[in-house]
């Protein structure tokens, strides 16, 4: 019992304390190492949740759903911190980072991890909202870190759109409280997840409907759903690459987690509007829109940012379809996307550093000039495109086949969307990876450890899912309804 409380507290304390420490450490090598160590410890703590599930308190709680998110998040947070250590060394050498800025960067990195952990273990709609707002602000800071014209615009766009999204989410949260208040009673109880979900059937369904609209749009902005996505490509493209990895791999998931929680809540009320169709429509719109947007991209990081939108569309679509199979697929796809997309950014970072440009026209023939990175990119793109032997293939298979049984036309449109997005990615991949090498052949440091840590599990998942994992996913999938 005590140990359990310690685990949740540690999840918050570790990043919070390290944020303070890192803000004070001047040596960037030391701070990079500290950053990794702290992230690693957080990851270990997260793993301990598998063994001991803490009892829910009024503010914090952990259930099967959040455990998956927490472990995934802390894992990607850890590997990204490893990648970041190599990345910033190069940036320092290039003079794009000053040591002071780096202190800020590391502090913000840990703050972000703190905020995301908080959002994932909050047992309170308000607390969750605060955490997500904090995560937004931290990432805004990091996106604007380079202080270039473009970076500031990206951060500004992100801030404004994120702010509006957050505002909408807050309104939704208030509406949920208003709906809960007559049933659960006034005060803190009206915002506690565990209580809300138990009594949701008695809430006013009409109010829940409106609340869900606001919440979907509000948190959907952070998920990057079309048409609320506009901040996402710029934020990915203009910030430091580790942040792009974190954004795609973590922050989107956290927002998705919030959407899922509220979907559960609304879904628990039989009289309320079904949340599924709304999510399906937005997911499909994101998939199709991002698929088309992939074609005319000229910037490699923006390209993969749109691909993140596409995949968020797929995931939201899967969860929107619901049912044990689709939910399972959604969870799996989310995991695979987090791992793969951040791995792609791990390769993109050194590539961009070596070539000195992130324009696609300047990058070509990567398997010739930087074979290891180039092939890693090929593997990453193949994995993200949902081809075997990688895990996303399984999730896409499950989504399509299970959807087709329920509503064939949706599955058809969905497949067309997948194909459109795939063709665009393939088009860029052929240019990026093959043909004569373009640009510099400067040696690039390959972040082997983080890459392997991401791609090997992705490969393994395509071949074999451990029964324990499957059981957990299935349990959660059943619980998501």
């Amino acid at each position: 019992m005590n140990a359990a409380i310690d685990a949740t507290a540690l999840l918050l304390l570790l990043p919070a304390v390290s944020a303070f420490i890192l803000a004070c450490v001047p040596d960037y090598r030391l701070s990079a190492r500290l950053n990794s160590v702290s992230s690693f410890l957080t990851f270990l703590v997260a793993l301990s949740l598998l063994v001991v599930t803490p009892a829910p308190g009024p503010y914090l709680f952990v259930d099967d759903l959040s455990v998956i998110f927490i472990i995934l998040n802390s894992f990607v947070g850890f590997t990204t911190s490893l990648f970041s250590a190599g990345y910033i060394t190069h940036e320092i050498a290039d003079g794009r980072f000053s040591p002071l800025r780096l202190r800020f960067y590391h502090a913000m990195y840990q703050t972000l991890l703190f905020a995301m952990n908080l959002a994932l273990i909050a047992n309170n709609t308000g607390l969750m909202w605060v955490a997500i707002e904090m995560a937004t602000l931290a990432t805004v800071m990091m996106v604007g870190l380079y202080r270039t014209h473009q970076a500031i615009e990206a951060a500004w766009k992100y801030f404004i759109l994120g702010g509006v999204g957050i505002a909408l989410a807050l309104f939704g949260t208030i509406l949920i409280y208003v709906a809960a208040q007559p049933v659960v009673g006034e005060g803190l109880d009206g915002m506690v997840w565990t209580l809300l979900i138990r009594r949701a059937a008695a809430f006013d369904p009409a109010l829940l409907d409106i609340a869900f609209v606001f919440l979907l749009l509000g948190y959907g902005t952070k998920v990057g759903l079309v048409p609320l996505h506009a901040w996402l490509p710029d934020a990915h493209a203009e910030g430091p690459t580790p942040i792009s990895a974190v954004l795609s791999g973590l922050l989107l998931n956290v927002a998705l987690y919030a959407v899922l929680r509220f979907k559960l809540l609304v879904g628990a009320n039989p009289a309320a509007l079904r949340p599924g169709p709304l999510m399906v429509v937005m997911g499909l719109a994101s998939l199709l829109f991002a698929g088309f947007m992939l074609y005319r991209r000229g910037d490699i990081k923006r390209l993969f940012a749109y691909s993140s939108i596409e995949h968020m569309g797929i995931i939201v679509f899967a969860f929107g379809m619901g049912g044990p199979v689709a939910n399972f697929a959604g969870l799996l796809h989310m995991t695979m996307h987090s791992l793969t997309k951040s791995a792609i950014f791990f390769t993109v970072g050194p590539i961009v550093q070596a070539k000195g440009t992130q324009k696609l026209t300047g990058l070509g023939g990567l398997t010739v000039s930087q074979p290891m990175l180039g092939w890693s990119l090929v593997i990453g793109v193949i994995a993200i495109a949902g081809l075997p032997p990688f895990g996303a293939f399984m999730s896409e298979f499950l989504v399509v086949t299970s959807t087709f049984a329920q509503s064939p036309w949706l599955a058809l449109v969905f497949s067309i969307g997948l194909l459109i997005a795939f063709a665009a990615l393939a088009m860029h991949l052929h240019h990026l990876a093959f043909g004569e090498a373009q640009g510099g052949e400067a040696p690039a440091v390959v972040p082997i450890v983080p890459l392997a840590a991401h791609l090997v599990p992705v490969l393994m998942a395509g071949l074999y899912l451990p029964p324990a994992l499957v059981a957990r996913f299935q349990q959660v999938a059943g619980f998501l309804g």
Binding site: F292, Y295, R296, T401, H430, P467
Partner: protein, 704 residues
């Protein structure tokens, strides 16, 4: 004994699985070796491939090549043996379930007689290609881009055939596509290959998505993706039609059914030749396996009309494919188009089998299906040999364009007759195997008046005419190929200095030709071998052939038709020998070499020979106007004018222009339209949020 039989089949499955693991291990070894080399020498000097050095036989360092290919050949042989044993013992059942793949289903593997037959095709091709690769691979400039993927490709194809649940099947299917894509991209620097790879990959994924949907219909409602579960829950009639359509799209895009064939002529030539042989000869067959598995096995009893789209598409594919081949001037491109033609022929056989099966004519259905399967086997053989030959030409000259080749019969004295034999086989000329299978298809067409439906009555004779047309065109096409490449005078310096290829390559080709001849003169043995697979799908089989007098084949009953390849062969050989003997004995045998006569107008320039384009011109004038919208324009200078006369031809690929280009245009247009949202102001983006909010708020406001 059923348990023993089942155990035998399971053993075969297990052995094959271990062999597949062996393939994968080889792929892994190759990757590891490449990575290690890279680590040892992090900055290799990247040399650009040079055609002349290639032609002169400059060989880069290859230590692993013979090793990998040799192992591949060995493992293929093992699987071949296992599959043969499984097919001949007639064992079914014996499912192996591994806890891999889809967690709540597992990976099911099973070698039934159909799978065993296709395993034989796959591994025969794989064995040949590996053998060929031992020699051919030495000329590879970047072996690191071929060696890891070749075994993976073989593994993928074997797994597709063995898979016995939807997920494993699709997984292997896509693995096969991906590995072959990587092989297509092996020579990625050559212009056009990137496009080939792109088109191929997109078409492959299109096919896979269609198969996703197919299995969604077949298994989605039940939620159990194993084939046995699918078989136990047949879909309802209208849905089954949809499944048929989706299966045609899904497998047709891999097999090369018109109009989904566009990637073949791009991708097959781009790959290294032994890989082209595998892709053309074997991978398309794996696609047909998928079609047979889906439609004949999983989908339940067919409706009468199912055969019609299959047959119509098959016939159209056959004719269009060979007409395209007639127009093509790239040697490997021609072979790829000819593959399309043969796929069409096979699909006609399958369509007929479906029609017969639906009308409760099991014997006729067995005949048609046997014809289809036999043609699959035959095509795998001779198409492999043809691609090996094309590879030999490529090794010897570095050229693929017909208009630069010529006279190679003098320079490649062993390759030439082997290639010629394969040309004869693919042109369906007796006594080789191509004729035997086409003869069977024609025989099954002749049984089709028994079909009661009017649609069939009108369609089948037309299909027969189209098939006959395709066969005749194929002969013309391969006269052109062999005549332009091997006969005449060399059209380029490189072609006149070509050197014969290595023994491994020649060995692979000789083996293939030997099997072609064997299957041609003893078709009965092969037909009987296929009988278990046919019987499992149709419930009937062709009468046993090997017991017949003189080893002839009789499709249905003694009184009707028969063909004896052995006798025709012996007869022809005897006649030719007799004639030769008689002339030796009674005629003159003085031979004098002299300059060519050519009606008194000989011209030493090799350009004055008939070229590939001029050879095709009469046929283009007959069919081209309709099929390609071909127009010739002749610019004849006025008398006295010394300017050269010019002839120019404009051609249209209506399928590309009519389907693919508009789709591409639409996608790009949509991309451009959507792309405007990339360049909006924050205000506009806020406007989107605003509109989305208002729109969604309207939903509950207007709901009730």
């Amino acid at each position: 004994m059923p348990s023993a039989v089942g155990a035998l089949s399971a053993t075969a499955t297990v052995i094959t699985l271990w062999c597949v693991v062996g393939f994968l291990a080889m792929a892994f070894m190759a990757v590891a070796a490449c990575v290690l080399c890279r680590l040892r020498d992090p900055l290799p000097i990247v040399s650009s491939p040079d055609v002349s050095s290639l032609a002169n036989g400059a060989q880069p360092q290859h230590n692993g090549t013979p090793f990998i290919y040799g192992l591949c050949a060995f493992v293929s042989l093992l699987i071949l043996a296992a599959a043969l044993a499984s097919l001949l013992s007639g064992a079914g059942g014996g499912e192996v379930v591994l806890p891999l793949g889809l967690p709540f289903v597992g990976a099911h593997f099973r070698i039934d007689s159909l799978a065993a037959f296709f395993l034989i095709v796959v591994n025969l091709g794989g064995f040949g290609a590996s053998l060929y690769g031992i020699g051919y691979g030495r000329h590879e400039h970047e072996p690191a881009r071929v060696l890891p993927f070749f075994p993976a490709f073989l593994a993928g194809m074997n797994l597709v055939v063995m898979a016995h649940d939807a997920f494993t099947f699709l997984f292997a299917w896509e693995l096969m596509s991906l590995a072959s894509w990587a092989l297509v991209m092996a020579h990625h620097r050559q212009p056009g290959n990137a496009r080939a790879g792109f088109v191929y990959l997109v078409m492959a994924v299109l096919g896979t998505l269609m198969l996703f949907l197919t299995f969604g219909l077949l298994a989605g409602t039940v939620g159990d993706y194993s084939f046995s579960a699918i078989r136990a829950h047949p879909v309802s009639t209208p849905l089954a039609g949809a499944v048929l359509g989706l299966a045609l799209l899904g497998t047709g895009s891999k097999a090369g059914l018109v109009p989904l064939h566009v990637w073949l002529p791009l991708a097959h030539p781009a790959a290294p030749s032994h890989v082209s042989a595998l892709m053309s000869g074997v991978m398309t067959k794996v696609a047909i396996y998928a079609f047979i598995r889906l439609v004949f096995d999983l989908l339940g009893p067919p409706d009468w009309w199912w055969g019609m789209p299959v047959m119509a598409l098959g016939a159209a594919t056959a004719v269009l494919g060979i007409l395209y081949a007639m127009e093509e001037t790239d040697l490997k491109g021609i072979l790829a188009y000819s593959t399309i033609e043969n796929i069409g022929v096979i699909f006609v056989g399958l369509g007929l089998a479906l029609a017969f099966k639906a009308n409760a004519l099991p014997v006729a259905a067995a005949l048609a299906l046997t014809a289809g399967l036999f043609h699959i086997f035959n095509h795998a053989l001779f198409k492999s040999v043809l691609f090996f030959g094309a590879g030999a030409v490529l090794t010897a000259t570095g050229l693929r364009r017909l208009d630069l080749l010529g006279g190679l019969i003098h320079r490649l004295p062993v390759t030439a007759p082997l290639f010629l034999a394969a040309c004869l086989a693919i042109s369906a000329l007796p006594p080789l195997n191509g004729f035997a299978s086409e003869w069977l298809i024609f025989q099954s067409i002749l049984l089709s008046p028994q079909l009661p439906q009017w649609g069939m009555k009108l369609l089948v004779p037309t299909v027969g005419a189209l098939l006959a047309l395709a066969a005749a065109l194929a002969a013309a096409c391969f006269v052109r190929v062999f005549g332009i490449v091997f006969l005449g005078r060399p059209r380029s310096a490189v072609a006149s200095e070509a050197r014969e290829v290595d023994r491994w390559s020649l060995g692979a080709m000789t083996g293939g030709v030997g099997l072609c001849l064997l299957a041609g003169i003893l078709p009965g043995v092969f037909i009987d071998g296929m009988a278990p697979a046919v019987a499992a799908l149709i419930g009937a089989r062709m009468p046993p052939q090997t017991s017949l007098q003189w080893l002839s084949i009789v499709p249905v009953a003694e009184s009707r038709s028969s063909y004896n390849g052995l006798l025709v062969f012996l007869f022809s050989a005897l006649s030719a020998g007799l004639a030769a003997w008689a002339i030796r004995r009674f005629g003159s045998h003085v031979t004098r070499r002299a300059p060519v006569w050519d009606c008194g107008f000989p011209d030493p320039s090799p350009v004055t020979q008939y070229s590939a384009a001029s050879f095709a011109q009469p046929i283009r004038r007959v069919f081209g106007g309709l099929v390609f919208g071909a127009r010739e324009r002749v610019e004849m200078p006025a008398p006295g004018d010394l300017a050269a006369a010019k002839i120019s031809v404009t051609r249209h690929d209506f399928i590309w222009e009519g389907i693919y280009e508009p789709v591409t245009r639409m996608v790009l247009l949509a991309a451009s339209v959507f792309d405007r949202t990339q360049a909006l102001t924050i205000r506009h983006y806020l406007g989107f949020v605003f509109l989305a909010l208002i729109g969604l708020l309207m939903v509950p406001a207007l709901w009730s």
